[in-house]
Subunit: 328 residues, 2 copies
């Protein structure tokens, strides 16, 4: 294999670099922060391990492969970013752990009224807020069963929820789902679910999948969770649905638009918990550790000519399952 320029924007520390470089001893490794990867560095790279500013990639003819440090690959699949033939892989599988815990945290915060109790706490007021709900025995619809949806389903199933999964392509039902349904059955299932947990990538198929009409099809008791991409939900329709009690609540780590401007009406909607797209990144040390393991595994495959794992289908933005995926 001729000499390769490998640009690494994932923060490998000094003690970890030798292990990475040993996988491809003839390559030249350049390390920098994602924000410092300028046009020249990107243009010189055969491989980028980590994210890079999309506007600087400009269909670089030299770039053979980019492995993203995140899971949402949508901005890299747009025309004009990657040249045809450049392989795109992502780090789906590293984030499910933290994001699924974040989802359960937001859901329990809402079910147990911990948001309202926190306001009382800030006011130094000891005041009972009455009835609560439980994950136990709730019917939870999981829309999108990738790493995040799968890990969330597994966890709430262990906590006693009745889990129903929705998948584009039906396959074998995993044991942590009580039922598995196809996307055609979404509306019937929405009418029955107490909780609807969404972790779908951004694509033309998922854009505003949740609009005013769909909220009206939901159980008025339902809490919707979104941790995939904000574009899944029409923010204005959600405001109306929450403020008019069409649904019971929303827990969002992603919204449309991001960052949410101070004057956006969503901030004032009732029964809402928002976190600022914070469940991902490297906020949990374990996430970064898993990303590094993935990157090294894929670099080993690249060097040996084996198929890369976690390849992103440029048309759908989903992982392409034919090459195999990393599910940790």
């Amino acid at each position: 294999m001729s000499e390769l320029n490998i640009l690494v924007t994932i923060p490998f520390d000094e003690t970890e670099k030798p292990e990475l470089e040993a996988i491809c001893p003839d390559a030249s490794f350049t390390y920098c922060d994602q924000d410092d990867a300028d046009e020249a560095l990107i243009a010189a790279a055969d491989i980028i391990l980590g994210n890079a500013e999309v506007s600087l990639i400009k269909e670089s003819p030299r770039l053979k492969w980019i492995h993203l440090s995140n899971a949402g690959a949508d901005i890299y699949t747009k025309p004009g970013v990657l040249a045809p033939g450049t392989i795109l892989t992502n780090s789906s599988g590293a984030y499910g752990l933290n994001i699924s815990e974040h989802m359960i945290g937001m859901l329990l915060m809402m079910m147990k009224k911990l948001d309202r109790y926190y306001v009382e706490q800030l006011n130094k007021n000891w005041a009972d807020r009455g009835q609560v709900r439980s994950i136990y025995s709730s019917r939870i619809l999981i829309v999108g069963l990738g790493d995040i949806g799968g890990q969330f389903a597994k966890k709430v199933h262990a906590l006693g929820a009745y889990t129903v999964g929705i998948k584009r392509h039906l396959g074998e039902k995993p044991e942590y789902l009580d039922e598995l349904k196809s996307m055609d059955e979404l509306d019937q299932e929405l009418a029955k679910a107490d909780v609807v947990a969404c972790s779908l990538p951004a694509s033309s198929e998922t854009y505003h999948l949740f609009d005013a009409e769909r909220f009206r099809k939901m159980n008025p008791n339902a809490i919707i969770i979104n941790v995939g991409r904000g574009s899944l939900i029409d923010s204005y329709a959600l405001c109306d649905a929450l403020n008019n009690d069409v649904i019971a609540g929303a827990c969002l780590d992603v919204v449309e638009p991001e960052p949410l401007p101070t004057d956006h009406p969503l901030w004032d909607a009732k029964h809402l918990i928002i976190t600022p797209h914070a469940s991902g990144y490297y906020h949990l040390p374990e996430t970064l550790k898993r990303i590094k393991i993935m990157v090294m595994e894929n670099l080993r495959a690249y060097v040996s000519g084996s198929p890369l794992k976690n390849k992103v289908d440029m048309k759908t933005g989903y992982r392409d399952n034919t090459a195999g995926n990393i599910l940790m």
Copy 2:
């Protein structure tokens, strides 16, 4: 069996009363709210199913048995409340479901900084707060392994925590505990735990078990959870421990004193989540359903002369295991 007066302060509704009364067809049933059970009604009762104001019981010589609707029996074990020979049973087993979910909710709220994000949300501010922690791979010490501690341990074990249980009397290690230790080993275990979850009854043995000295023995990384009785923790010592970073956080549903007065320094302590003893009561409909099942099961046992379940040991305030317990 001669005619019995049974006073019921647990809210059985009209459709449920026939089933209860059928267990003891010769008895006379009186229903009222707990707050409306006056001295005359209590003095006339052979059996009370539900709580009653302790100051009105006055060692009633007629009272043969009282089944509490709650789990914490401490105020009923005090001298001058029940006559010697009056049987005391409680509803331990009904609350573990909701309280264990409440504990996980508070813990994840703190680990994922959802309390801080909620303040940002109230200020309409999209601001990242950095590093988080996970239940997964945390070492969680469970102090008190009754219904609540057991259910909490089972759940966090399913979420990937390493669980260590502390028990007064060692028995067989349940599969959801990675290790089981005796109370003698508390201090060694406190030094290692990332999370310390306490659900102990009030007693002379548990009074201020967590004081300034004990907080100093804890891992500085540790989050303490208390859902048993507030008297377990010296509130002033906890304030100091939190404000001086001796420990990393506290999640409390019970405090000393209750209600916590507006001018108490605990409200201002750092890294603290307080709910107002709200995880119990009938706040979850399933809790009340389980209590009714228990009460009917025990009334059936009483009528047939079988031993009652969930008997409280008047000396320790714990359930007496010899007669069998209800663990749902």
